[in-house]
C-alpha cells in the first residue's frame, strides 16, 4: 500500500495507536513512529510534530509511564510504557473505535449498494 502522506488522523486516533504500539513493550519515540509505520504496512506516517506532544500528553494523563533507559544501540533514550490506566483506556478506545468503524462501514456499504 502507498503511504498516506499528511494523513490527518481522526482526533484521538493517534493516542489510541500509540497506546496500542506501546502495549507490546516499552519503546522510545523514534521506535514508536517506526513501529506505527511498519504495522500499518507503511500507510501511516506519523508526523513527529504531533507524535511528541501526544506522547507527553498521554504521560501527563498517567496513561504512559516514561523512563530513561539504554536503547538497542547503547544510547540513552526515553522509553514509554503502558500504565495500568493506560491499559484500561486502550481497551475503551479500541472498543469505541470498533463500533465506530463498523458503523461507518455499514453506512458506506449501504451507500455503495444504493449507488
Amino acid at each position: 500500500m502507498a503511504p498516506l502522506e499528511n494523513a490527518d488522523l481522526l482526533q484521538g486516533t493517534l493516542d489510541m495507536l500509540i497506546l496500542k504500539v506501546v502495549a507490546l513493550g516499552p519503546l522510545h519515540g523514534y521506535g514508536i513512529s517506526q513501529r506505527i509505520r511498519q504495522m500499518s504496512n507503511e500507510v501511516l506516517n506519523v508526523q513527529q510534530g504531533s507524535l511528541y506532544p501526544a506522547l507527553h500528553r498521554l504521560e501527563k494523563r498517567g496513561w504512559l509511564v516514561a523512563e530513561w533507559g539504554e536503547s538497542e544501540n547503547g544510547r540513552e533514550a526515553k522509553f514509554y510504557q503502558l500504565s495500568h490506566e493506560g491499559h484500561r483506556q486502550l481497551g475503551k478506545e479500541a472498543a469505541t473505535w470498533e463500533r465506530m468503524a463498523e458503523a461507518i462501514r455499514l453506512i458506506l456499504g449501504a451507500a455503495a449498494q444504493e449507488g
Binding site: 522510545h28 519515540g29 523514534y30 513512529s33 508526523q47 513527529q48 510534530g49 511528541y52 506532544p53 507527553h56 500528553r57 501527563k60 536503547s71 544510547r75 540513552e76 533514550a77 526515553k78
Partner: protein, 864 residues
C-alpha cells in the same frame, strides 16, 4: 494567549526535551545514511522530516505548562473581573473582612504574646514560683526566709536549683540629685535559675554572694541607657546606693525584667549574713528551675517532704508551714488571661457573624448569576470547576480583607504597647510571621465558611435547567438558607450584646458605689527607703513622722498620713485574731489587717463612729476597727478598750481597741467592706504610701510636696507621685477596657446583623418584584405587602433572639467572675437586649420592605 511557563524545574525539563528530540534526530539521520545519503544530507533530511525541533519543543512545553496554574490564573482573572464588575459589593465584603480578620488577628497577637508563648527565658516552662503557706493560721504572707530557701535548695531532689528575690526602692546618690532606683536583692544562683546571662560583663562570683564579700551589682538595660547612655565603660563605674558603693559587674539584656520591668539593679543578698538567720523572717519570692522532665506535682510532693523534715527539725515555725508552687508564667499573666480569652472569644464570634453575613450577601449574588452559571454548565464546565471559580472569587476578597486586617493588627500592636503598664508582657506583642500566617489562615477559613455554601447552592444540578426557564416563571422562591444565616447572625449578636450589657451594667453599679472614703483631692507618693532601716524601728518611725509633720505644715495641705496599702486598690492581708486573750475555737475571727498612721482617717475622710482615731505613737499598741468588725465580732457591745491581737505568734503585737470607724471599701472598690483592723503605725515598711489631702487640685501641689520632702531629707528621692484617683482608675482599667472592647464588638455585631437583614430583604424584594406586581394588580394594598416583608424579617429576628438568649444563658456564666452587682440572669439586661435588637432589626427591614411594596405593577409585568 499568554504562555505560562512551568516555574518549577523549567530548565531541567527543557534539557530532557532536547535529549529526547536529539535522540530521534540521530536515529533518523542514521536511517538516512543507511539509505545511502551523506552524513550532512542525512541530517538535513532528518530535520526536515522532524518538522522543526524548536517548534516541537515549544509544543511540548505547552503540554507541560501546569494545568493547575493555568486554571488558577484563569480563575483569578475571572475573579478580578467579577470584583471589578460589582465594586460596591466587593468593597463591602473586603471592609467587613478587614474589620473581622483585623480585630481577630490583633487580639490573637496579644493572646499569642501574653498567654500562648513561653516567657522569654530558656526552657521557661521549668520555672516555678514557690510559696510557703501557713495553712493553720491563714497567714497570707507567702514570702520565704533566706535560711529556708537555702534548706530547700540543698535538700530537694527535683530542682536544678532554687533562688529568689525581694525588692527595695532606694536612692542612688552619685549624681547631682538623688535618683530613685529599684533594686532587686537576689539569693545566690539567681541568673542560673533564670537561665539568662548578662549582655555585658558577668554574673556574680561566689565571693560576691557571700556576706562581707565585694559589693557587686548588675544593672538593667534601661538603667544602662538612662545613666550611661549605653557606654560599655559603665562596667568600671561605681554606684552609691544608700550606704553601699557597688561595682557594676554586668548589664542585663533588655528583655530581662524579673521581678518587674521597673527594676534597675540586681545585687546579691548573702544567705550567711547574721541578720538573715531567723527562720521566721520572710523576705524572698522564691523561683526554682525544675529538673528536665519533672512535673509540678512531683516537685510539690518533693518540697513538701523536705518541708516536713524541716518541721521535725525546727518545730517553730517550720512545722506550721506547707509549700505551694505555681508556674512562673501563671504569676506573670494569670490576671489578664481570662480577659484576653473573653476578648478572643468575642472577636471570633464577630468574625463568624461577618462570615455568615458575607455568605448571605454572596448567596444573593450567586442567585443573580444563575444565568451565567447555567451557561457555563451547558458549555461543559464541571461542577468542580465552577465551584473552584466561585471560591477563588471569595478567596481573593478574603486575602484582600486579611491584608487590610494586618494593617489593623499592626496598629493594634502599637496600641497594646501603650497599655504596657496594665498588660503584662505587652512589649512582646509584635506583628510577626505567626500573626501573618494566622491571618492568612483566617482568610482561608473565611473563604470556606463564606464561600462554600453559596458555591454549593449556586452549582446545584437543577440549576443547569434554569436556562430553559425564563424568569417569568420565577415566583416567590423561599430562601430558608439565607434566612437561617441571618438568624444565626442575630443569635450571635444577641450573645455578644448580653455579655457587653452585663459588663456595662456592672460598671454602672460600680460607679454608683460609695467607697466610704473620699479619694478626690488626695495626692500619693513614696519616699525611698531600705529594708535595712527596719533594724532600728524607732528611728524609722521618727523619720516618717517628721516627713508627715513637714507636709502638714505646708500651705494648701489639709492633712497627711501613711498607709501600707492604698485605699481602694485591691489588696487583702487577712489574719486570724483573738480578743482579750480569749480564744473560742469555734469562732474564728478573721479580718483584713492594715497599717495606717496618725491622721489617716481625717485624710481619707473615713468617719470615726466611736472612740478616737489613731494617735501619734511609735509603737503598734493602738488598734482601730471598722464597723463590720465591731458588728460581727462584738455583737451589741462596745469594743473600745478590749485587747486585740493575732491569734498566733506574729511580728504584730497585740493592741487595745481605741476606736470604731465607718466601713470603707479599702480592699477594692468592687469588694464589699470586710471586717478590718487598723494598726496605728506610721512605718509598716521603710517606704509606705504617703497620702496628702490638698485643698485644691492635688496635682498642682506635687512640686511643693516634692520640694518640702527634699528639704527634710536631701538624700532620698520621691517617686510614684500621682493623685489617688489615678491609682483607682488604674486598678479598674482592665475592667473598663474589656467592657469598652466588648461593647464595641457587640455594636459591630448588631450592625452586621442589620446589614444581613437589610441585604436579604432587599434582594428578596428585587427577585419578587414580579410577584408583588401581580399581587398589587390583583388588588393587594401596598401596606399589606410592606407588612408581609417586615413580618418576614421580624420572624427571623424573633427566632434569632430566642436562640441567642438561650446561648447567652450558657455563655454569660463565663464572665460571672467579672461582674459586680448584677447576676448573669439580669432581666433588665436581657429585656434591653431584646428590645434593642427588635427595634434595630425592624428599622433595618423597613426601607427594603417599603421599596418592595412601591413596585409599579404595570411596569414590572411588562418587562421581558
Amino acid at each position: 494567549m499568554a504562555r505560562w511557563k512551568n516555574p518549577f524545574r523549567a530548565s531541567g525539563r527543557d534539557e530532557a526535551l532536547d535529549r529526547e528530540i536529539a535522540y530521534h534526530l540521530d536515529e533518523l539521520t542514521k536511517a538516512n545514511v543507511a539509505k545511502g545519503l551523506g552524513a550532512d544530507e542525512g541530517r538535513r533530511q532528518a530535520v526536515i522530516a522532524f518538522g522543526g525541533p524548536e517548534q516541537v519543543k515549544q509544543q511540548l512545553r505547552e503540554v507541560h505548562t501546569s494545568a493547575f496554574l493555568n486554571r488558577m490564573a484563569f480563575n483569578l482573572k475571572s475573579a478580578m473581573r467579577f470584583l471589578r464588575r460589582s465594586p460596591s459589593l466587593s468593597a463591602a465584603v473586603i471592609l467587613v473582612l478587614a474589620v473581622g480578620i483585623g480585630a481577630n488577628s490583633a487580639v490573637f497577637s496579644a493572646m499569642d504574646a501574653v498567654v500562648l508563648r513561653p516567657l522569654p527565658f530558656p526552657d521557661a516552662d521549668q520555672l516555678v514560683v514557690i510559696y510557703q503557706h501557713d495553712a493553720k493560721n491563714r497567714n497570707a504572707n507567702h514570702f520565704v526566709a533566706p535560711v529556708r530557701l537555702e534548706d530547700w535548695n540543698r535538700m530537694n531532689s527535683t530542682f536544678q536549683s532554687i533562688s529568689g528575690y525581694y525588692t527595695d526602692d532606694l536612692s542612688e546618690t552619685s549624681g547631682p540629685l538623688p535618683e530613685k532606683v529599684s533594686e532587686a536583692l537576689v539569693a545566690p544562683r539567681f541568673l542560673r535559675v533564670m537561665g539568662v546571662s548578662p549582655l555585658l560583663g558577668r554574673d556574680f562570683t561566689a565571693d560576691e554572694e557571700r556576706f562581707g564579700g565585694p559589693d557587686a551589682v548588675l544593672i538593667s538595660y534601661r538603667f544602662w541607657q538612662r545613666r550611661f547612655h549605653g557606654d560599655p565603660e559603665a562596667l568600671s563605674q561605681k554606684l552609691h546606693v544608700s550606704t553601699f558603693a557597688y561595682s557594676i559587674v554586668g548589664v542585663m539584656p533588655p528583655f530581662f525584667s524579673v521581678p518587674n520591668r521597673d527594676v534597675d539593679l540586681w545585687a546579691p543578698s548573702p544567705p550567711d549574713a547574721p541578720y538573715a538567720q531567723r527562720r521566721d523572717s520572710t523576705w524572698f519570692t522564691v523561683i526554682g528551675r525544675m529538673k528536665t522532665g519533672a512535673s509540678l506535682s512531683e516537685v510539690l510532693a518533693d518540697l513538701r517532704t523536705v518541708q516536713s523534715r524541716l518541721g521535725a527539725q525546727f518545730p517553730t515555725p517550720d512545722a506550721e508551714l506547707t509549700v505551694q508552687a505555681m508556674p512562673l508564667k501563671e504569676t506573670v499573666v494569670g490576671g489578664v488571661k481570662d480577659s484576653l480569652w473573653l476578648l478572643y472569644g468575642s472577636v471570633s464570634l464577630l468574625l463568624l457573624i461577618a462570615c455568615s453575613n458575607i455568605a448571605a450577601l454572596l448567596l444573593a449574588r450567586t442567585a443573580d448569576r444563575e444565568h451565567e452559571i447555567s451557561i457555563r454548565f451547558s458549555l461543559g464546565a464541571s461542577r468542580g470547576a465552577i465551584t473552584a471559580q466561585l471560591l477563588t472569587e471569595v478567596f481573593t476578597l478574603a486575602v484582600a480583607g486579611s491584608l487590610l486586617g494586618l494593617v489593623t493588627a499592626a496598629a493594634a500592636a502599637r496600641a497594646f504597647h501603650l497599655l504596657s503598664d496594665q498588660l503584662p508582657r505587652a512589649e512582646e506583642i509584635t506583628l510577626n510571621w505567626r500573626i501573618v500566617i494566622y491571618s492568612l489562615a483566617c482568610a482561608l477559613t473565611t473563604t470556606m465558611l463564606c464561600g462554600l455554601l453559596p458555591a454549593i447552592r449556586g452549582t446545584r444540578k437543577q440549576l443547569a435547567h434554569s436556562l430553559a426557564q425564563t424568569s417569568r416563571t420565577q415566583v416567590s422562591t423561599r430562601n430558608p438558607l439565607q434566612w437561617t444565616l441571618v438568624g444565626v447572625e442575630i443569635m450571635l449578636a444577641v450573645t455578644l450584646l448580653t455579655g457587653a450589657g452585663l459588663l456595662l451594667r456592672s460598671l454602672e453599679e460600680l460607679s454608683r458605689v460609695s467607697p466610704g472614703f473620699d479619694q478626690s483631692h488626695v495626692l500619693t507618693f513614696q519616699v525611698t527607703g531600705s529594708w535595712g532601716e527596719t533594724a532600728d524601728m524607732k528611728t524609722l518611725v521618727q523619720r516618717i513622722d517628721r516627713n508627715l509633720e513637714g507636709l502638714r505644715s505646708l500651705p494648701g495641705v489639709e492633712d497627711a498620713a501613711t498607709a501600707a496599702m492604698l485605699p481602694g486598690v485591691p489588696s487583702l492581708y487577712q489574719l486570724e485574731f483573738k480578743i482579750d486573750e480569749h480564744l473560742d475555737p469555734n469562732r474564728k475571727i478573721l479580718a483584713d489587717s492594715r497599717a495606717v498612721s496618725f491622721g489617716y482617717f481625717r485624710t481619707m475622710q473615713i468617719p470615726v463612729l466611736a472612740g478616737d482615731a489613731c494617735k501619734q505613737r511609735t509603737t503598734t499598741a493602738d488598734v482601730i476597727v471598722n464597723r463590720s468588725f465591731a458588728d460581727r465580732y462584738f455583737g451589741g457591745w462596745n469594743p473600745i478598750g478590749h485587747r486585740l491581737g493575732p491569734a498566733t505568734e506574729n511580728f504584730i503585737p497585740a493592741g487595745t481597741i481605741r476606736g470604731v470607724v465607718g466601713d470603707a471599701r479599702e480592699q477594692g472598690l468592687n469588694t464589699l467592706p470586710l471586717p478590718t483592723v487598723y494598726w496605728c503605725f506610721s512605718a509598716p515598711d521603710p517606704f509606705p504610701n504617703v497620702l496628702v489631702r490638698t485643698r485644691g487640685n492635688p496635682s498642682a501641689m506635687a512640686e511643693a510636696v516634692r520640694k518640702r520632702i527634699h528639704e527634710i531629707e536631701p538624700g532620698r528621692s520621691v517617686y510614684g507621685m500621682m493623685p489617688l484617683q489615678m491609682h483607682l482608675d488604674e486598678a479598674s482599667f482592665e475592667n473598663r477596657l474589656r467592657t469598652i472592647l466588648l461593647t464595641l464588638f457587640a455594636g459591630s455585631a448588631v450592625l452586621l446583623a442589620c446589614i444581613g437583614i437589610y441585604g436579604t430583604l432587599n434582594y428578596l424584594g428585587r427577585i419578587r418584584q414580579r410577584e408583588v406586581g401581580m399581587r398589587l394588580a390583583l388588588g393587594a394594598l401596598p401596606r399589606q405587602i410592606l407588612a408581609r416583608f417586615v413580618l418576614q424579617g421580624f420572624r427571623v429576628t424573633a427566632l434569632g433572639c430566642a436562640a441567642g438568649l438561650i446561648l447567652s444563658l450558657g455563655a454569660d456564666r463565663l464572665i460571672e467572675d467579672m461582674l459586680y452587682g448584677v447576676s448573669t440572669l439580669d432581666p433588665q439586661t436581657y429585656a434591653g437586649v431584646v428590645l434593642l435588637i427588635v427595634l434595630v432589626a425592624t428599622t433595618a427591614s423597613l426601607l427594603p420592605a417599603w421599596r418592595a411594596a412601591r413596585v409599579e405593577p404595570v411596569r414590572v409585568l411588562r418587562q421581558d
